[in-house]
Every structure is written in C-alpha cells, then in structure tokens.
C-alpha cells in the first residue's frame, strides 16, 4: 500500500495546478498498488479541486474499486465533506 502525503504536494489545494499534481500522483500510485492519502497538515481544499481530483478517479475505477483502492487518512471533517461533494458533483 502506497502512502501519499498530500501536504508534500500542497498544503492549500486551491487551484487547478496543484489539483492536477495530486491527481497525477494518485494515478501513478494506483498503477502499482492501492493508495492511502494522508491529509495531515493540509489547510484547505476548494470544491473545484475536490471534483477535479476525485470525480475522474471514481469514474475510472468505479465505486467498488475506488473504495477498495483509495483510503483517506488524517482527513478533517470539512475536507471529507468537500471530497464527498466532489465525488457527487
């Protein structure tokens, strides 16, 4: 299981540049293994980035594989809420 520390890519996930970097990192990780996304030290994520990163992953993997292969760790309730919104956006 690969662990990706999101704050090493960006503490503030607020624009398409950092959003794309995170998406690509997760994609690369999924090509080898399942991934755990560690959200410790992440300040904020915009609704735009939540959808930009996670909606395509859900569409590519399907719900079952998404839940099996992408785990979320140290996530604040606010960011969890936003990602859920992004998945359903």
């Amino acid at each position: 299981m690969l662990i990706i520390k999101i704050s090493e890519i960006g503490k503030n996930i607020t624009n398409d540049i950092v959003g794309n970097q995170i998406y690509e990192k997760i994609k690369a990780g999924l090509n080898k293994d399942s991934v755990t996304l560690d959200f410790s030290d992440v300040n904020v994520m915009t609704t735009f980035c939540a959808k930009q990163i996670f909606r395509p992953l859900l569409e590519e993997l399907g719900e079952e594989e998404f839940n099996k292969r992408i785990l979320f760790k140290n996530i604040t309730p606010t960011i969890e809420y936003e990602i859920n919104m992004g998945l359903n956006g």
Binding site: K11, N12, T14, N15, D16, I17, G19, T36, N43, V44, T46, T47, F48, C49, K51, Q52, F54, R55, L58, E63, F66, N67, I70, L71, F72, K73, N74, I75, T76, P77, T78, I79, E80, Y81, E82, I83, N84, M85, G86, L87, N88, G89
Partner: protein
C-alpha cells in the same frame, strides 16, 4: 472644477454613496474630464473597505485615463495618509499618482507583507493568475490564516477565502484588477475583495441557460447551490454557495455591489436591491467566530458516493 469629497466617517453606508458619485467613470465617453479633485483631507475614520474602494477608484481612473490633470488632496497634515499607510494602501495609491508602468505596481504589492500580532492582518494583495503570485497569496493569506486560527476556525475562514479567490480569478478580466485584503481576530474575520472584471451577473450569463433571467434573479441565484457560469467543468457551483452558508452559520454578513445591484445577507435574510453601478465586484464577508460552525453543520444533499476514511 469637479470633484468628490470623502466625508469624515467613511464606512459601509458612505461607500454606497461614494459608488453613486463615481459610477460615471464606467459610463464616460472618450473625452477626458478636466480638473477633477478627489479630496481625502476631511477623513477622520475609515474602514478597510473604504480605503479599498478609494484605491480602486484611483487605479481605474488612472489606468483608463478618465481625468486630465486630476488632483488628490491628502490634506495639509499627514494624518489621513497615516490611516491609509497603516493598512498598506499609501504606497499603492502613490504608485498610481506617479503612474508609469505596470511592473512598478506589481512590485509594490510584492513589497507589502502581512503582519500578525494579536490580530490577523493580510495586507492588500493583487490576485494574479501566475503560479508565483498564487504561491505568494497562499503564503500571505492561507498559511497566515492557518497559523492564526484553530482547526475549526481555520476550516471556515480558509474555505471562504480560497473559494472567493478562485471565484475572482475566474471572472477577473485583467490580472491586476483583483485585490484582496483581510483582517481578523480570535472571534471574527473580515474579508474584502474588489475588482473591475466582468461582474457576477455578466459572468453567470456566460452560461446560456441563464441569459433570459433578470439581473436581480441572477444575482440572487449566484449564491445558490449548483449555479455555475461554467457547466460541465470542475466548477460545481458550490463555492459561493458554501461562502453564503458559512456566513449564515456564523451569524455573519455578506455584502456585494456588482453591476448596478447590491446583494446583502444579514441576520440570515437575503436582500437584492438596486445600487450604484460598479464595473466588477465589491465584496465584504464578515464572520463571527465566537461559536464557530463549519460546513459539516450543513445538510449534505444528493449524496450517493462517499469516501472511506481510516483513523
């Protein structure tokens, strides 16, 4: 000789009057207006938003060459200039008084640093689209906010700030046009944004399905969930909605002047009314943070997929 005199006290009510006196700059024909004076010498008390609209008025009229030989009257003492200097506006205004090129203005923004003591202050900053500027904004705003507030307050304040930054980036037509300033304490946070971009109504009309609506209905709709000028993109139409909901949850106030209308949310009530014309957006967000309530207090709607969170 024409001109505008700023009153002794220059707060939200007076700003509306000021916008009424200045709306002619957006309707002018091609001829210069001669001998205009902006008189700041009577100011005794002024809000940050007051300084921001005065600065933006000066910046817009200089850039667009509205006046021939205009005069800016600071008064004979340095007291008014000191008020503006306290919040970093004097060098910005001075740059336009000695307006030569865009580079110098950009450098002036970069020279301003945010200060954080008992209170949080994020100095006026332009919102350029360059990666370097975005990084600076994150440092001067989002990281400062995160250092200043606890987790819950940070999640409220930084979400509002970053969603609004993103929104202004998306409708600003000229990069140096958008300015953001913030001031906060442990139990409050105030955010001010201003630009001369497309405005919220014009932006929403980019989406053809909204073109038949009245401007008042559109401005009210801008803050509703799922309303976006950019359908079929990663814009969900949730950014401004979340800002509005966070203002409601935290008994705050949201005031917007844009394109001849005012949107006001106060005490949980929304009112959209006629207002002086401002090209672009003037926005104030005030949050009370004594008993902070983040977005998890909102009812989630239309949820089908949910992530699996571990520890």
């Amino acid at each position: 000789m024409s001109g505008i005199q700023i009153p002794e006290k220059f707060f939200q009510t007076e700003i509306r009057d000021f916008l009424g006196k200045t709306e002619f700059i957006f309707k002018r024909n091609t001829t210069y207006i001669a001998n205009f004076t902006l008189d700041l010498s009577h100011i005794k008390e002024i809000s940050i938003l007051g300084m921001l609209v005065i600065y933006k008025f000066i910046a817009y009229t200089v850039k667009n060459k509205i006046f021939r030989h205009p005069t800016l009257n600071w008064g004979v003492t340095s007291s008014v200039k000191s008020l503006f200097n306290e919040y970093g506006f004097t060098p910005l205004i001075d740059n336009f008084v000695n307006y030569k090129n865009k580079t110098k203005i950009t450098e002036s923004y970069k020279a301003l640093k945010s200060s954080s003591t008992e209170e949080l202050f994020c100095a006026p900053h332009s919102m350029l689209r360059t990666e370097a500027n975005r990084n600076e904004l994150e440092q001067d705003f989002l990281n400062k906010i995160a250092e200043f507030y606890d987790t819950t307050r940070n999640s409220i304040v930084n979400l509002c700030t970053s969603e609004l930054m993103l929104n202004f980036w998306s409708h600003a037509t000229i990069d140096t046009d958008s300015i953001i300033v913030a001031k906060g304490g442990k139990t409050y946070f105030n955010l001010f944004l201003i630009d001369n971009g497309d405005g919220l109504i014009t932006s929403l009309k980019e989406n053809p399905i909204y073109r038949g609506e009245t401007d008042k209905d559109l401005l009210k709709a801008v803050f509703e969930e799922g309303i976006s000028s950019k359908p079929n993109t990663n814009h969900q139409g949730r950014g401004l909605f979340l800002v509005r909901e966070l203002v409601k949850l935290n008994e705050g106030e949201l005031v917007v002047f844009t394109e001849g209308l005012q949107y006001k949310l106060k005490d949980g009530k929304i009112n959209v009314s006629e207002a002086p014309y401002w090209k672009g957006v003037v926005m104030t967000v005030k949050l009370k943070l004594k008993r902070p309530r983040d977005i998890t207090h909102l009812k989630e709607s239309k949820i089908r997929y949910r992530i699996r969170s571990i520890c």
